[in-house]
Amino acid sequence: MRILVVEDDLEAQRYLVQGLKESGHVVDDAADGDLGLSLALSRPYDVAIIDRMLPKMDGLGVVAEMREHGNTTPVLFLSALSEVDDRVKGLKAGGDDYLTKPYAFVELLARVDALMRRRSPVTVKTRLQVGDLDLDLLTRAANRGEQPIDLQPREFRLLEYLMRHAGQVVTRTMLLESVWEYHFDPQTNVIDVHISRLRAKIDKGFDAPLLHTIRGAGYMIRAR
């Protein structure tokens, strides 16, 4: 996958590019807004990672220009600014996701993967399947094999999010943002408890567990 990194902190850029390359991506980099914009407009990228504060042209400006030119590459904003209403500004300017520095690389990678997935042609799914776990989005029924699973509304949403990102790492922050719509870190890790509850419902009594904990990163649902 091709990724564009626009970051003026060269040390941070080096680590970021190296990390992404090690994860198997093809990466182009730029250290200022102008270069970043011309790269974004001249080559096809699957994701662009853009810092909010850049020399020559501010990150918001770069994305606004990209959108102006009809470029729909998903954009992940990186920001070292305070975050209260900065996130709103970033998303309004055309960004697709927003990550505050300092971030964990696994968090960034998980979000980049999620953005890439979003890029693939959207077919309206009414049914999600992972292994023998089956989620009907219309009747809101969940089944594992023959056995129906009774889910609370929020558990349903949690499972739906995990299954839409099957095979991908989903971080706690991503779950909190997407399933609960909270953009803050609760002092205690409440997400873990929700996950173990969900796990008890979908995996307990079955030979092959579907919901896996990825150490130091988050969770993943996958068949094998």
Partner: protein, 489 residues
Amino acid sequence: MRTNFRLLRTQAFRIVLVYGLLFAFSVSSLLFFTYWNTRRTLDDQTDQTIEAEITGLSEQYTRLGVRGLEESLTNRQLHPGAGQALYILTDSAHRFLAGNLDSWPSITTDPGNFVEFAYERRTNSGLETRRARGRLFPISTLLGDYYLLVAEDVHDRDLIQGMFTTTLPWTVALILLFGLLGGALMSRNMLRRLDSINRTSGEIVAGNFTRRVPVSGAHDEFDVLAENLNRMLDRIERLMKGLREVTDSVAHDLRTPLNRLRQRLEQSQARLQAAGSDASEIERAIAETDSLIATFNALLLIAETDAGTARGAMSPLDLSSVAADVSELYEPLAEEKNVILTLIRPSGFHPGDTVIEGNRSLVSQALANLVDNAIKYTPPGGRVTIRPGLHFQGADISVADSGPGIPLEERSRVVERFVRLEASRSSPGTGLGLALVAAVAHFHNAELLLEDNAPGLKATLRFPRPAVRLIPPAETAKLPQIPSRAAAE
């Protein structure tokens, strides 16, 4: 109706009212003095005329005796131009001897003083009762006592007096009427100007720092006030912008090196793990870095929230739904700790009663902190209760637990940054949780109350009533409420 009452309460109206009363008082005093003076002058004139007459008549008497006096009086009566002078001479039994009065009038005053009395005068249309003022003059002779009364008609004086007594109340009434009307007009005008200033200040307090007080161009005191306020606002706006820039650069300048630090640690960790070495030290260093970052983020958020520079999305926010969401988020955690978490929705609410003007993220975070603390400090088997409710000035939300509580003398201290009570030092936490709740309360003009729940702590966030009744936000995007643990009171 309400504006009318407001008019009566304005300072301008009160000033005009007091001034009107004072003015009415001074005008009536002036009128009264004029009246009194006029009357005195008229009386003096009358008295002098009477004195002169008496002097003349006493000369006659000295020269010609009582007979001469009688004659003189009869002559005078015929003398033209003596229309207003009245005389009567009587013997000791008040029997008429001479003069133009028919009979001795009824007087009770001592002789020698000036007296007033009523008499009857013949006119074309019959008899007429009029008032007169005169002087009694007793004459003692060897043949017996006589009484002489010389008087002047004072009808005109009485007319003037009547004029004054009828004019005075009318004058006062008119002064008050016009005064009050003028006052009302003035106050209304002032109110209008003040209202526009108040409206603008309200909008600015609500976060719209670009608003300015309108200047009418009349160059009056209100314009001077408006200009001064606007200058102040310019300054505040500049300061706020400066503060925001400082916060932003502090954030940027600290986060950038923290970011590099974390990246370096991650890389070393990856390298060590790839080489099959023990990376647990690095892992601990990463955990320390993360808690440092969490503290820094919390501090920055508190600073921004406290300063009010973080004017994010303020929107109508239903405390009941915020409570339901947070309760739902923490319910599994409480269950795992064997704490009963209950969301109480008291009956008798109208939808919209618990709607405030607020920032969803901040209020949710504040409530999450309170619930988090409550669950953390409540021993297994205890209970935590979340209750959105109403107080007489607006909506509130409380979190009550059955934990150890906070001693009274510590309650004001725990909302400060980094303050942790001895009892809780061993448990994880930054010591910023309640400080953030206090900052969020401050941001929303709300009050944070910490009370004894006997046993335990009851923390309440009291939000002020919004200026206008807010309609709860559309619930379409929301999940159906989770009924499992919600109890109705």
